[in-house]
């Protein structure tokens, strides 16, 4: 069989007649829009309302107000490590995370505008449409991922996975939805790994390198001839869906195949009867061992294909996407130990739900950050982490009162959120939890000085019009993008975060 070089494959792909060919091979270059290369956004969608009162903005148990008939403001035994401006609940994973990343962490008060799950989730990543309706992921993809194969990958659920509303946005920057990170790489080629190698039919299409060439010939005929001359093509040549499909095949699809993402993104080894990759001519990434040393539960153990820990699997794919240069924005969502509710289990038992899921997202985020630290961005001397920002999109808050026993909580607009990145001015806690009612206050966006709810009677809530409430979706959205070097007209930011 003929042995084809990478250049042969590139040429064969270009010969398929798609838009990639029209654009030339230069379209596959790694160069980013920015002069100094791309920035990466990693969003953890904290489904169900991750309450900052239960993590990095806790009220101390010694200060919490008790109101007869209402309960006690949710409070904890707290710690504030030496040198840190951030207070934490006194629990191992949050404190370890704080020790590791405090100089890159900003915790801030945040006021959601909805307590509907999907609406709040969507607004937490689209800034209530402030940037022409683009989401954070779309905005980052359009600037930093323009030359990437899948610039905006979304493993989220509900509102976290909703596309934005900007009709002018190239469809390539819309979220690419991933439901199973383990098997997703199989979507990154139209032919590789389709046909079993060991069936003994003796055909050329069973040899992957021959198959690459033969499929390229087939596609060239299809796009270059059949799609031009058929009555159907002449009748419906301008149909939008037809054009979109041709565009996806010739643009994104071609890039994925040229970059061999079907193999580059596989973070699990051949798992025999569970995932027999070699039988289908597939070789997983050479990073498999390293990825699994950081995320050991990311792979499946049975033929359901479901990873043992779905969030770890999402983190593994996120790393592979960034490392391989395929994506500039990745969104993960805690699937919950029950597979669904995650932080919203707080309805049944607030403390245990918040503990379990904060520990879970912080743990996986730390593993992902450490992986990114180990990988250099090209030959820049910088790690991938040096160019990344992790946003914990907390959806909304929870009710503020401990009513005794294994109490549950409803949804609440008032909350906080967490960013971790070398690109922001870390070691800051902006805003203050009020021990009299559990509200997290706002802060001066330039100096960071916290506003106080001192004049609000114990047990009373501040008004919606109170200017001391924390910032909402728009300035947080603008700040995240500013940290990633993205600006737009009317951008509102929190300068104290950017330093």
């Amino acid at each position: 069989m003929a042995r084809l070089s990478r250049r042969d494959l590139l040429q064969a792909m270009a010969a398929s007649g798609g838009l990639a060919a029209a654009a030339g091979l230069g379209a596959f270059s790694r160069s980013a829009q920015g002069a100094d290369g791309p920035r990466f956004l990693i969003t953890f969608g904290c489904f169900g309302g991750a309450s900052m009162l239960d993590c990095y903005m806790p009220v101390s148990s010694s200060e919490a107000l008790t109101v007869e008939g209402r309960g006690t403001v949710i409070s904890y035994d707290t710690v504030q490590p030496e040198g840190s401006n951030i207070r934490s609940v006194n629990r191992s994973i949050p404190t370890q995370f704080l020790d590791l990343y405090r100089d890159q962490m900003v915790v801030l008060g945040y006021q959601a505008s909805s307590v509907n799950h999907f609406t709040a989730q969507a607004r937490s990543v689209n800034g209530r449409g402030i940037y022409a309706g683009r989401t954070l992921g779309e905005a980052v993809a359009a600037v930093h991922g323009a030359s990437m194969a899948m610039p905006n990958v979304n493993m989220g659920r509900g509102g976290y996975s909703e596309p934005g509303l900007d009709p002018t946005l190239d469809v390539r920057f819309r979220p690419e939805i991933v439901t199973n990170p383990v098997t997703f790489p199989l979507s990154a080629s139209g032919w590789r790994g389709v046909i079993e190698q060991s069936e003994g039919e003796g055909l050329a299409i069973q040899d992957p390198e021959m198959m690459a060439l033969l499929v390229a010939h087939s596609r060239e005929l299809r796009e270059g001839t059949l799609e031009q001359l058929s009555p159907f093509a002449k009748t419906f040549g301008g149909a939008r869906r037809r054009q979109e499909l041709l565009y996806a095949r010739g643009e994104s699809g071609a890039r994925m195949e040229v970059d061999d993402l079907i193999q580059q993104l596989f973070f699990v080894p051949d798992l025999g009867e569970v995932l027999p990759l070699s039988r289908y001519g597939l070789t997983p990434s050479e990073e498999v061992d390293r990825v699994l040393s950081y995320l050991p539960d990311a792979f499946p153990t049975d033929v359901s294909g479901t990873p043992r820990d779905r969030l770890q699997a999402q983190a593994a794919l996120a790393y592979m996407l960034i490392k391989s240069g395929a994506s500039a924005s990745v969104t993960l969502t805690d699937p919950g130990t029950d597979g669904f509710l995650a932080f919203d289990q707080s309805h049944q038992s607030h403390r245990s739900a918040q503990e379990a899921h904060w520990d879970r997202v912080l743990n996986v985020a730390a593993r992902l950050i450490e992986l990114l630290k180990t990988a250099e961005y090209q030959d820049s001397g910088q790690s991938l982490w040096d160019r990344s920002l992790v946003l914990f999109a907390t959806e909304f808050g929870r009710d503020k009162w401990d009513t005794g026993g294994s109490f549950g909580t409803g949804h609440h607009l008032n909350n906080g959120l967490l960013m971790v990145s070398p690109l922001i001015k870390g070691n800051q806690s902006l805003g203050r939890p009020d021990p009299n009612n559990g509200f997290i206050s706002g802060f001066d966006p330039d100096t960071g000085e916290a506003y106080a709810f001192d004049d609000i009677a114990p047990g009373q809530d501040p008004l919606f019009t109170d200017e001391r409430l924390p910032p909402g979706e728009e300035p947080v959205f603008g700040t995240v993008l500013a940290a990633l070097g993205i600006s737009y007209d009317g951008q509102e930011t929190l300068p104290v975060v950017l330093g």
Binding site: G190, A204, H217, L226, T235, R242, F340
Partner: protein, 223 residues
Amino acid sequence: MTLLLLSLLACGPDTTKPGDTLDGGSNDGGSSDGGSSDGGATDPGELPAAAAARADLRLKRWRQLSLDLETALELPGDALCLETGLYDCRDMHVVPLGGTSVPNGLYDTINTVAATTGLAMERFVLQACWNRAKADKALLEAGQPAVVFSHLSDPMGTSATAEELNAQTSELYRRLLARDPLQAELDALAGLHGTVLAEGAKNADWAVLACFTIGTTTEALTY
């Protein structure tokens, strides 16, 4: 059938008789006689297609794609496409193929063509064609007639007559697109035969590739 109707509408009443087209382009799944003596070719001059003013096409979603391939290739749905032999493509690629995923909280279908949609469709069709070819080979070895890939006298050979190629191409067009091929399309697929055999492929390779090529045209994947 929808495609057939669209084609008929596009052709106009003066060009092709509905009865003629129905006879020649039926998708009853049972045709293996090689079609007419000219391989089923339709003179392009008979089909002066006009551009549709309201070209409101839809992409076939996973269920439509699966059902159409089941009919065209006479395979059960669960034998069309299994990734790594284990994971049903109808489940694995459900979101890029226009489905929902309730376990993942995706209650609405994506209202766009995903980056992986085209590739997922190609994988689905390619494996379905391959599985049909394997099934037909097993039938031939058992002394029974092949269902779809029945027109090549020597599948493992490296030459075929124009009649064989045209008959096989016509069979695939009727099954996958519910119409006869144009002469230019027959010529194009015959040209592919020459091209891939020059690369070292065999007749059976071409047959699977022809199925893949026709089955992944936008005509086959939209309605």
